[in-house]
C-alpha cells in the first residue's frame, strides 16, 4: 500500500510538472519580483535602485493621470459589466425558448465575442464611431446630421469602448443558456398552477436558480474588464486619448512601463491593481451569501 502511494506521488508530479514548473517560473517568481520592483526606481537598463514607498506615494498624491485612469477604468467596468450581463441574460432567456433555427441565432450572437479581442474589430470600431463613420452616416439617414467624432470626443470616447464590450456578450450568454437548460421545467409548471406570472417566475425561479452562474460571470467579467487593453490601445493609437479619456488602467501601466521605461512605477501600479481586484472579488464572494442560492449545500 505504501509503495503504491509513493508511486502515485511520483507519477502525479511527473504529469503535473508542466503546470508546477510554469507556475513557479511564470507566476510565483514574477509576482515577487514585481513586488520588489515596485519599491525601486528601475528603467531596465540600470540596476533597480531601492526607493521605498516613493512610487506608491507619487501614484496617490502626485499623478493626476493615475487618478484619471482609475476614473476611466471604473466608468468602463461599471458601465460595461452590468450591461453586458443584462444583455447576455435577456438573450439567453429568449433563446432558451424553443425557437426555430436556434443554432443560427446562437452563432449570430456569439460571433462578435469570438472575434472580440482582435485588432480587426477595434479598427472597425474606430471607423464606426469616427466623424464620417457608420453611426453618423446612419443618423444622417434619419435626419440627424452631425460631424461629431464619437471616438474623438473626450465625453463619448469611453462609451464607444463600453459599446464594444457590450456587443460581445456572447460567451456569458452561452454560460447562462447552459444554466437555464438545467432548471427543471416542472418548477415553472408548478408556478403556473399557483397562478404566478412571467415576472414572478423570473424573480422567484430563474434568478435564484441562476445566481451561482451570475456570480461566476460577474467575477470573471469584472476581472477581464479591469484588464482590457487592446481596444483602448488601437482606438487611441496607444495614447489613451482624447484627453486621457480612454486611458484604461492597463494601458496607462503599459505606457509607464514600455514607453517611458518606468518599470518600478508600473510594477507598483500592477500591485495596486492586484489588491484592488482581490478586494473586489472578496466583496463579491462575501456578499454572495445573501443573494446566491445553492440548491444543494456544497453542490458546486
Amino acid at each position: 500500500m505504501t509503495k503504491l502511494r509513493e508511486n502515485d506521488n511520483l507519477v502525479g508530479y511527473v504529469f503535473a510538472s508542466p503546470f508546477i514548473l510554469g507556475f513557479l517560473i511564470f507566476t510565483v517568481y514574477p509576482i515577487f519580483s514585481s513586488l520588489y520592483y515596485s519599491f525601486t526606481d528601475y528603467n531596465l537598463f540600470e540596476a533597480p535602485r531601492w526607493i521605498g514607498f516613493d512610487n506608491y506615494d507619487k501614484m496617490f498624491t502626485g499623478d493626476d493621470k493615475y487618478w484619471k485612469s482609475i476614473k476611466v477604468t471604473f466608468t468602463y467596468v461599471l458601465g460595461s459589466v452590468p450591461l453586458r450581463l443584462a444583455f447576455a441574460l435577456a438573450v439567453a432567456m429568449m433563446l432558451n425558448k424553443a425557437v426555430k433555427g436556434i443554432g443560427l441565432y446562437r452563432s449570430a450572437y456569439y460571433l462578435p465575442s469570438l472575434i472580440g479581442g482582435s485588432v480587426a474589430v477595434s479598427i472597425m470600431w474606430t471607423q464606426i464611431f469616427g466623424d464620417k463613420g457608420l453611426l453618423n452616416s446612419a443618423l444622417g439617414l434619419i435626419g440627424i446630421h452631425t460631424e461629431t467624432s464619437w471616438i474623438g470626443s473626450p465625453g463619448t470616447a469611453i462609451w464607444t469602448l463600453i459599446a464594444l464590450s457590450v456587443w460581445q456578450f456572447g460567451s456569458s450568454m452561452l454560460i447562462f443558456l447552459a444554466g437555464l437548460k438545467n432548471i427543471p421545467a416542472s418548477y415553472y409548471e408548478a408556478a403556473s398552477v399557483d397562478g404566478a406570472g412571467g415576472v414572478r417566475k423570473f424573480f422567484q425561479i430563474t434568478l435564484p436558480l441562476l445566481s451561482p452562474i451570475i456570480l461566476f460571470n460577474l467575477i470573471m467579467q469584472t476581472i477581464s474588464a479591469f484588464m482590457t487593453f487592446t481596444p483602448a490601445y488601437i482606438i487611441s493609437r496607444g495614447e489613451g486619448g482624447p484627453l486621457d479619456s480612454t486611458l484604461l488602467y492597463s494601458l496607462y501601466l503599459y505606457r509607464r512601463a514600455f514607453q517611458f521605461y518606468e518599470m518600478g512605477y508600473a510594477s507598483a501600479m500592477a500591485w495596486v491593481m492586484l489588491i484592488l481586484i482581490g478586494l473586489i472579488a472578496l466583496v463579491l464572494f462575501q456578499t454572495s451569501k445573501y443573494w446566491v442560492h445553492y440548491e444543494t449545500k456544497g453542490g458546486r
Partner: protein
C-alpha cells in the same frame, strides 16, 4: 449583431473614396479588389504573406504545446491521488484569476535578460507549461470517463502512463479539440505579447501588422486596411463554422471566456 461584421467585409471591397461618403451602405458601387492587392503588399518590404506565415507558425506551435501539456496536468489533477494535489490545484485556480498586468513586467525583464527579445520564444515557450483554463476544461471532461475503465486497464497490467495514453487520451479527444480551438483563437488574436516582444516587422503576426495601417504614412490606405482586417478574420470564421459544437460545449461546461 453581425451588421458591423458584414459592414467590415463589404467596406473592404469599396473604392477608397466611397468608404466614407456612403458609410451606411453595404453595397459597393463596384468591387474594388485592388484593396486586397494594396493591403497585401504590406509595409517596407514585408508583405502579408510574411505576417500570415508568422501567425500560423506561432499559433500552431504554441497550441500544440498548450494542449499537450494541459492534458498531462489535467490527468494528474483528475485521476492521480498525489501528495499536495489540493495545494497545486488551488494555485491553478488562483492563476486563472490573476491579472496579467502583475506578471508582465518581470516576465519582460526575465526574457530580456535571457536575450529572447525579438524572437518568437517569449510568445511560444510559456504555452508549453500548461494553461489553467485548458487544464480545467480537460479535467471536467476526464471526470466523466468512468473510473472502472482505469481499473480494468490496471488489471490488464497497464501503468498510469499506459492508462493515460491508451484509455484516457482516446476518450477525451472532444475536449482536446475544444482546447485546441480556443488556443487557436487566443493566440491568433493575441496582441499584447507580440507588441512587447516582436519588435521587428519581419516577425509580426497579422494582429500586430494590422496596427501598422494606423501608423503614420500608411494612414490613407483605408481600403487595404479593411481588406487585411477582413482576411485576418477568415481563419476564425472557418474554424467557428466547422467546430461550432465544440465551442458551444466548451464554454457551457467550463465557463471559458471567449
Amino acid at each position: 449583431m453581425i451588421y458591423p461584421i458584414l459592414w467590415l467585409l463589404t467596406s473592404s471591397l469599396k473604392p477608397n473614396d466611397e468608404i466614407f461618403t456612403q458609410a451606411y451602405s453595404l453595397i459597393p458601387s463596384r468591387l474594388a479588389w485592388e484593396n486586397y492587392a494594396s493591403g497585401w503588399r504590406g509595409f517596407a518590404g514585408n508583405s502579408f504573406s510574411t505576417f500570415f506565415r508568422n501567425s500560423f507558425f506561432i499559433v500552431t506551435v504554441s497550441t500544440v504545446g498548450a494542449v499537450v501539456s494541459s492534458a498531462l496536468v489535467a490527468y494528474a489533477f483528475a485521476r492521480i491521488p498525489f501528495k499536495g494535489k489540493g495545494f497545486w490545484f488551488s494555485c491553478m485556480m488562483m492563476t486563472m484569476m490573476l491579472p496579467h498586468d502583475v506578471t508582465i513586467i518581470p516576465q519582460y525583464v526575465m526574457f530580456s535578460k535571457m536575450g529572447w527579445l525579438s524572437s518568437f520564444k517569449p510568445v511560444i515557450v510559456p504555452q508549453f507549461f500548461a494553461v489553467p483554463f485548458f487544464i480545467f476544461l480537460i479535467m471536467q471532461f476526464i471526470r466523466t470517463v468512468p473510473a472502472e475503465l482505469d481499473e480494468a486497464a490496471k488489471m490488464d497490467g497497464c501503468s498510469k502512463y499506459g492508462i493515460f495514453f491508451r484509455v484516457i487520451v482516446p476518450l477525451i479527444v472532444p475536449a482536446l479539440i475544444t482546447a485546441t480551438i480556443f488556443s487557436f483563437y487566443w493566440r491568433w488574436d493575441d496582441f499584447i505579447n507580440p507588441l512587447l516582444y516582436l519588435n521587428k516587422p519581419e516577425l509580426y503576426p497579422v494582429s500586430l501588422a494590422l496596427k501598422l495601417f494606423l501608423d503614420g504614412e500608411s494612414l490613407n490606405n483605408w481600403g487595404g486596411m479593411f481588406a487585411m482586417a477582413s482576411l485576418s478574420l477568415i481563419p476564425i470564421f472557418i474554424v467557428f463554422f466547422v467546430f461550432q459544437r465544440y465551442i458551444v460545449e466548451g464554454i457551457s461546461t467550463s465557463g471559458l471566456k471567449g
